[in-house]
Every structure is written in C-alpha cells, then in structure tokens.
Amino acid sequence: MSTGQTSDPIAAYEKRIAALEAKLNTLEESVISRTVRESETFDWKTWAERFGLLIAWGVMILILGAFKPDQMFAWNSYASMFGSNAMVVVLTLALMIPLTTGDFDLSVASVMGLSSMLLAVLNVKMGMPIGGAIVFVLAAGAIVGLINSFFILYFGVHSLIVTLGTGYFINGVILWVSNSNTIAGVSMDLVKAVILTRLFGIPIGFYYALALSVLVWYVFQHTSLGRRLLFVGRGREVARLSGVNVNRVRTGALVASGVIAAFAGVLYTGMRGASDPSSALAFLLPAFAAAFLGSTAIYPGRFNAPGAFVAVFFLSTGIMGLNFLGVDSFVQNLFYGGGLVIAVSISQLIRGRKPMD
C-alpha cells in the first residue's frame, strides 16, 4: 500500500471537516443574530414557554387558596413543604446530569437508598462519626457512577439496561448490609443539620438543595463544561469530531449523578434519623417526573436545574393543596400523573410540537 493512496483520503477528510466547520460557524452566526433579534423584540410565546410553569404554580396556589385560604396562604405551609422536599430536588438534579449527556440513570434511587442505609449502618452499627460516614457514602456514590460508566462505555451497553441492572444489584446490597432491617438512631447532629435547624422558618436541608441547584445551573449555563455536556447529549458523533472527549464527559456525568444521588440519601437519612431498605426507591418516578416537567420551563427543551427546582415544588404544592382539601389518596396520583402529561403537552404545543430531546 503506497503512502499516496492513504494521504488522499485524509486530505479529503480534512477538507470535509473544514467545510463542516465553516457550515457550523455560519449556523452559529445565524443563531446568534436570531437570539439578538429575539432579545430585542419581546416575544410573548417564548416568555410564556419559559415562565408558564411558574405562572401555573401561582394560579394553582390561588385556586387552592380560594378553598383553603388559611392554609394555602400561610408561610408555614410553604416552609414545611420546601423543607420536606429537599431530597427530591437533589435526586432530580442527580438524574438530570446524565439525562443531559443522553444517558438514563435508573440507579439513582437505589444509590440514594444505598447511601442512606450505609450511613445508618456506619454511624449506628459501627460507631463511625457522622462526618466520616458522609464522606464514605458520597465516595460509594462515585464508585457506583464509575461502575455504571464502565459497563456503558467499555461494553457499549445501553445506559437503561446497565443502570436497571446495577439498580437491582444495589437493592440487594442494601438488604444485605442492613440485614433487611430499618435502622434508627442516626446521629442527631445530622438531623439538626437537615431539618431541625431553620432559616426563615424553612428547614436548612432546603438551602442545600437550593445551593446545589444554583451550582448545577451555573455549570450548565456559564461554563464550557456545561456546554460540552449539552453538546454530547445532542450529538455524540458531532461532539467527538469537534474534539470533545465524549467518554470522559459521559463518565463525569454518571459519577456526578452517583455522588449527588448519594447526597440525596444523606438528606433522606437526616430527615428521618433512620434508614430503611426499600423506601428510597419510591422517589425514582417523582424525580423523573420533575426532571421532564422541569425541562419544559425556564430553559425549555433542555434539562435544567431551575426548571427542575420549580417542577418539584409545583408538584408538591399541588399535593399539599389536595391534602388540605382532604381528598382521597388516589386523587394525588391523578394529579401527579395527569399534571405531568398535561403540562408537558401544553409546553409542546407552545413549542410547535417539536420532538423532545
């Protein structure tokens, strides 16, 4: 094989890349000019799309408040609700990061349960100080993320299958390390650091979730890392050809997901002062619901932290109002499931029914 034969295709390939880059530049310029135009002229449709969920939240409060004003217009109600949903916000953020890079992490709730249980076992059964135990369980979350990414990236197995499997595996580990028992008596220092300390009447766990949401928002919106995450999610091949280390970004997202899910577990244990082997799994679907509902707001069409944050509290405000009205348990499911599908569908209508990423 002569060198001449191989150099030609390479030259042709480089030429094609140059053409592609030129095309991308033109596209980017047109996008920028359109954004400038859009920012100059106030567009009701874009505005409604971005803030629709916030408006719906406000309208819902007003409607429910018309029936139960004493409770729905009391700060204490919201302070309590904000405090008790901290771990759902954190779990949603954990889910959102790999979703952005195009990977599903079905093991997040299991990691939350594992971290919650390991924390109880280490602190209560083995007498480890709570600070050290927290570091340990966050590291455990990172290890699960690494294991997930190893199977997804090295073997090329779809993330749904891998994380479904690791999730089940972790559930077994939880039952094993806990001997199937619920463990109570976790250090009161943790309970104080999650719900017993309050700021403006809101348990402090809420502020951890808020801070983490701001951090994730900042990384996604204002750093090149955030752009790379998005880029990988939108088109792996294009990202790879543009010089993004796709595997590293996807691994990073899965590890971040593991660590953040483990943090949700810390909050969950701190909220109850106890840990049980199975209940954390029930938060997987609410987290998915909030992630998808959140992707229709603030930065529509993308998984985004402020959207997810608003979505969690939109859904829990609805549940709170239904509780105040004293409706049956099944109505909450109707609201949760129906609310999700209707809200996302309305958002799609506004977006001109473009396929969701």
């Binding site: 049980d276 509780n323 348990s329 909450q332």
Partner: protein
C-alpha cells in the same frame, strides 16, 4: 307542642352537661396489657411428637426481606425443633411468583401442610391453594385475619388469627387517657392490607363510643406510597389543624415517615402504634415523639401458629386464635426490649415452657 319541647329541653341539657369519657375502662385496658404476658394454653395438651412423627410442614412468609416475617418464621423453626418434625421455611421476596412456586414445591414434595404467614394474602392464590388441597395438602394462614371481625374463607383449611380489635382499642384507650379525653388524632393505614380494617375501625370506633370529646380523621396511604405520601399527608394535616395531639398509624413502620412530618410542622403530637418493630422501639428509647407501641412476641406467634397447625394435622379441636398477648411498650419498659431492640425481647419467654408442656416435650 309539649311533646316537642320536652325532648328539645332534654337535648339542651345533654349539651350543657357533656358526656364523660369512659376513663376507668380505658385505664383498666392499659393496665391489663402493661403486665408481662402470661401463657394461657390455646387448647388441651397433646402428644405432639407422636402425632407429628411422619408429618412435615411448609411455611411461606409474605417476604423474608421483612424482619417481622423472618421473626415469625423463626418461631415456626424453633417449634419444629422442639417437637422434632421437618419444617421448611420458604424464601420469598414479596413476589406472587415466589409464593406460587412455594406452594407447588410443597405439594410436589409431599408436605402435609402449607402455612401462609404474616400477611401473605391467600386470596391472591386461590387456584394454587385449591390445587394443593386437592392433592391432600392442608393450607392455613397465621397472623393474617382478625379473630373476631373477619372470617376465614372456605378455600382454606384453617387459620390462626390475631386479636387486632383489642390492639386497636389499646391504642385508642392510651391516647384517651393521656389527653384526659381530648384526643384529636390522625389515624393512618394502608387499606389494601387485610388487618388494616379491624385495627382502623377499632381505634376510631373505640374513641367514638367511649370518648365524646375525641375526634379522629383517617388517611389511607397504600404501602407502595408510604415513602412519598405519608410525610406530606401528616405534615399538611398538622398544618391544617395544629391542635392534633396524636398520630396513630396502624402499623408502626410508618413512624419513620411521620417523625419528620411532626418535626417539620413544629407539632407536639405523639405517635402511638402497633407491631413492636425494633427500630420504632429504638426511636421511643432515643426520642420523645414515639410514645407507646403495642407489640407481641413474634417468636411466640410462630409457635402458636405451629400449635394450631399441629392440632389440625392431628385431628384435634381447631384453634383459630393466636394466644399471643398484646403488650404495651412505653418509656418505662422500652429498655427491656434490648438495645438495639428486637422482636422477641421484653416479653419474657413463658411461651417456650408453656408450649413445651402443652406438647409433652419438656
């Protein structure tokens, strides 16, 4: 007119002099169940070793992953060891496929009796139960139905049932005595679980019948929703009515979701419940929110279930009610349950000697 006025006056007088809660009866009920359990033989003594010589028993728990069921199973295993017959404790994970496989295995391997223990709903398995019975295997249930308000279906050979009504009444009586007849309680339970109805109705009914100034509201939280719905439901109920002074979940495992609700809502409500689950007793010992818990020795339940099954296999008069007494744990005696607490400590072990004597294996 006179006819109309007199009853009206009578009604007004009744309003003016409020009816008093039946406090003495409530106190007596609490005192009775605060005493260490004593053994009352469920039936006449019999030679268990002789009649079980060529028989074997198969136990299918709701799930082995639940320490409650594991503790009952251990009672069965201990009883079989005392008498000296073969008993197999089937491993299941709350899955109907595992239960069905258990029934099929027991039938295929020629077991004489299958016991579905600790809440495994036999109604889900009627075809398999019928098939097993056709093959000559007896099928029973231990610790599933209430001894007085529920009937054992015809497709079963028998059942050793629990006195859930008394448990519910103890819980209600406790709250009534502690508040001086001013209970304002949330009662919670998963309606889809068989014992919920007798427990729920006993708590609410006892307060309705015996305590005119007491009020309750009931919230149904299915087991699958415990983690996501219990806390908001209780929290919001406490916010809506800050005078609520008791939260009465029919099963104490719900407490882990109720404690944070009480803390976040800034309420001073107390939790009183049933099951004697170790972590809840630990919560009672270490904190102030869990105030009382009605427990029963689960090792005793397993032995009492074995006793009822052996009587069925030996053709003796049937025993339909477990003789395991309900026992009150509070701050005063929770230390006796162990640290960490267990399902069997604190109740004494009179049942071991009692059953050994009853079965002639002393």
């Amino acid at each position: 007119m006179k006819n109309l006025i007199l009853p009206t006056l009578g009604g007004l007088l009744m309003l003016a002099v409020p009816a008093k809660a039946d406090m003495a009866a409530a106190e007596a009920l609490i005192a009775k169940h605060s005493q260490l359990p004593t053994f009352e033989a469920p039936g006449p003594a019999f030679d268990a070793k002789a009649c079980m010589k060529d028989k074997k028993m198969f136990v299918i728990p709701l799930t082995n992953a639940n320490p409650f069921n594991a503790a009952i199973s251990q009672g069965f295993v201990d009883a079989a060891a005392m008498v000296g017959f073969e008993l197999r404790d089937w491993e299941t994970q709350m899955d109907p496929a595992g239960w069905i496989q258990g029934i099929n295995t027991a039938t295929a391997e020629g077991f004489d009796l299958i016991d579905l223990q600790g809440g495994l709903p036999p109604e889900f398995l009627v075809p398999q139960i019928t098939e097993a019975r056709t093959a000559g295997v007896k099928v029973t249930a231990t610790h599933n139905w209430d001894a007085t308000t529920q009937t054992v279906p015809d497709f079963m050979d028998g059942a050793a049932n629990t006195d859930y009504v008394t448990v519910g009444e103890i819980i209600a009586a406790w709250a009534m005595v502690k508040t001086g007849g001013k209970v304002n309680a949330i009662v919670l339970g998963p309606d889809e679980i068989t014992p919920t109805a007798p427990l729920r109705d006993a708590i609410i009914g006892y307060l309705k019948d015996n305590c005119p100034d007491c009020k309750t509201q009931y919230i149904n939280v299915p087991v699958n929703d415990w983690a996501t719905k219990t806390q908001p439901a209780v929290q919001n109920a406490l916010l809506a009515d800050p005078t609520i002074n008791y939260v009465l979940p029919v099963y104490d495992s719900m407490s882990q979701f109720i404690v944070p609700a009480i803390q976040i809502a800034g309420s001073s409500a107390k939790i009183v419940s049933y099951n004697g689950t170790p972590f809840v007793l630990d919560m009672m010992r270490d904190g102030d929110i869990v105030e009382m818990n009605v427990g029963e020795s689960l090792g005793w339940v397993g032995m009492a279930g074995t006793d009822a099954n052996m009587r069925l296999l030996c053709g003796l008069d049937p025993v339909t009610k477990l003789n395991t007494p309900a026992y009150i744990f509070s701050d005063e005696n929770v230390a006796t349950a162990g640290n960490p607490a267990t399902f069997n400590d604190g109740y004494g072990d009179v049942h071991r000697a009692g059953f050994a004597k009853l079965w002639g294996v002393e």
